[in-house]
């Protein structure tokens, strides 16, 4: 930056969030913030503009392969690698939650209040936005010991389209990245959960869909506790 930074500019003031000066409006005149040459910032863009825009799958696959390579550096094992992919997806989920809600028509804008509404939001809105179609199935665990577990099933995850996992890493499923996005949405909506991706292609009815992936959503106890309270309410 060529300009000297003013001592009280917005970048210097208030590193502690609780010390925001209310009379800061005048400081916009001496800010070092640089606008793009056409004068348009992110605030000038319409939120629904790229609603139907599509990204080339080739470029996505290229970026995704770089992300996996990046995550793979100095990992201790497959679990660690999946955790890193999960961490990469998490912030996306947090942000998409707000974006997808505001793109809904104003009449149907409402926060998900229970697990089913939230999972439907993920299965329909989130999947539609990310992959251009809905997720294939939504299931609740039938195991009485695992009432906090739900499964979102995708027959052929887009992220895995060009991923071939070596034999010695057969447990790895790179859709852990998508699991991270789901986890971000759940955490953002105050339904704290752990989400993991599992390949089930080779088993039972998997003949037809070798890449079938189950996203196992395990909610924390407090979510179920609240759910029971609201249900009574």
């Amino acid at each position: 930056m060529s300009q000297p930074r003013p001592p009280n500019g917005p970048s210097g003031a208030g590193t502690n969030p609780s010390v925001v000066l209310p009379k800061e409006t005048s400081s916009s005149h001496n800010t070092t913030l640089r606008y793009p040459s056409n004068g348009k910032t992110i605030y000038h863009r319409h939120l629904s503009r790229s609603k139907t825009a599509e990204l080339s799958q080739a470029s996505f696959a290229y970026l995704f392969s770089e992300m996996v390579t990046y995550a793979q550096r100095r990992v201790t094992g497959i679990q660690d690698l999946e955790k890193r992919l999960n961490t990469q997806g998490h912030p996306l989920g947090l942000k998409l939650l707000d974006l997808l809600l505001i793109r809904e028509p104003p009449r149907s804008q409402s926060r998900p209040l229970n697990i089913i509404t939230l999972l439907h939001f993920i299965k329909i809105n989130l999947w539609q936005h990310l992959f251009g179609r809905q997720a294939d199935r939504l299931e609740k665990s039938s195991d009485p010991n695992a009432l906090d577990e739900y499964m979102i099933i995708d027959n052929e995850p887009l992220v895995n389209a060009y991923v071939s996992v070596p034999k010695e890493m057969s447990q790895l499923n790179c859709a852990a990245f998508v699991a991270g996005i789901i986890e971000g949405v759940c955490d953002g909506a105050v339904f704290p959960a752990k989400v993991t991706a599992h390949s089930v292609g080779s088993k039972e009815e998997g003949e037809m869909w070798p890449g079938r992936t189950v996203f196992l959503v395990k909610f924390q106890d407090e979510v179920l506790e609240r759910e029971a309270l609201i249900g009574k309410g």
């Binding site: 925001v20 209310p22 913030l33 605030y43 409402s110 105050v190």
Partner: protein, 176 residues
């Protein structure tokens, strides 16, 4: 009417604060809080968070209307999908002490008596409710744009953009 607006993160950290006054019925858009009230405002606003957290699970709407009242201070809440709270404290002009804005008070009080249904005077009227809803929706739109920035770490980072502040101020001028 004077307003104090704050965005509170899910971890109860303030992300953004703004004070402004009414621009309707001849208002000049300046807040008329006393120095003491300005400190108290933050306290009142944060103390209403408990009520918001109770209400947000009974009502899926984003806009929760007036949820709390502390003497002449009304608190309106708006909860986003990612559990970020927008809180607006509004204080009708009539409660301003005479010494705070001596030349204007009589005039302002007179005008607020004339239009008792106008946005500036009656904090619980349907018109005010609707005006605040529009204000909140506009701020929400800009908030979502703010978090779309790849450099913004949702949901617990202070919003420092001067453009965002201008946008909030503009929404305040437009609706309140």
């Amino acid at each position: 009417m004077s307003y104090y607006f704050a965005i509170i993160s899910p971890l109860d950290t303030p992300l953004f604060e703004h004070e402004f006054g009414t621009s309707k019925s001849g208002g000049d858009g300046q807040p008329r809080f006393t120095e003491q009230a300005r400190h108290l405002n933050q306290f009142i606003l944060h103390s209403s968070l408990d009520i918001v957290e109770e209400l947000q699970w009974t009502n899926g709407q984003l806009y929760l209307k007036v949820i709390d009242k502390f003497f002449q201070n009304y608190i309106t809440a708006f909860v986003t999908a990612s559990n970020v709270k927008f809180l607006l404290l509004h204080q009708p002009t009539t409660s301003v002490p005479a010494n705070a804005a001596a030349p204007n008070t009589a005039q302002a009080a007179a005008s607020s008596r004339v239009n008792s249904t106008s946005v500036g005077a009656n904090p619980t009227s349907p018109q005010t409710e609707e005006a605040i809803r529009n204000f909140m929706n506009e701020v929400y739109e800009n908030y979502v744009k703010a978090i779309m920035s790849p450099f913004y770490k949702a949901p617990n980072m202070e919003i420092r953009s001067p453009v965002f502040r201008q946008r909030v101020a503009a929404a305040g001028r437009k609706y309140l």
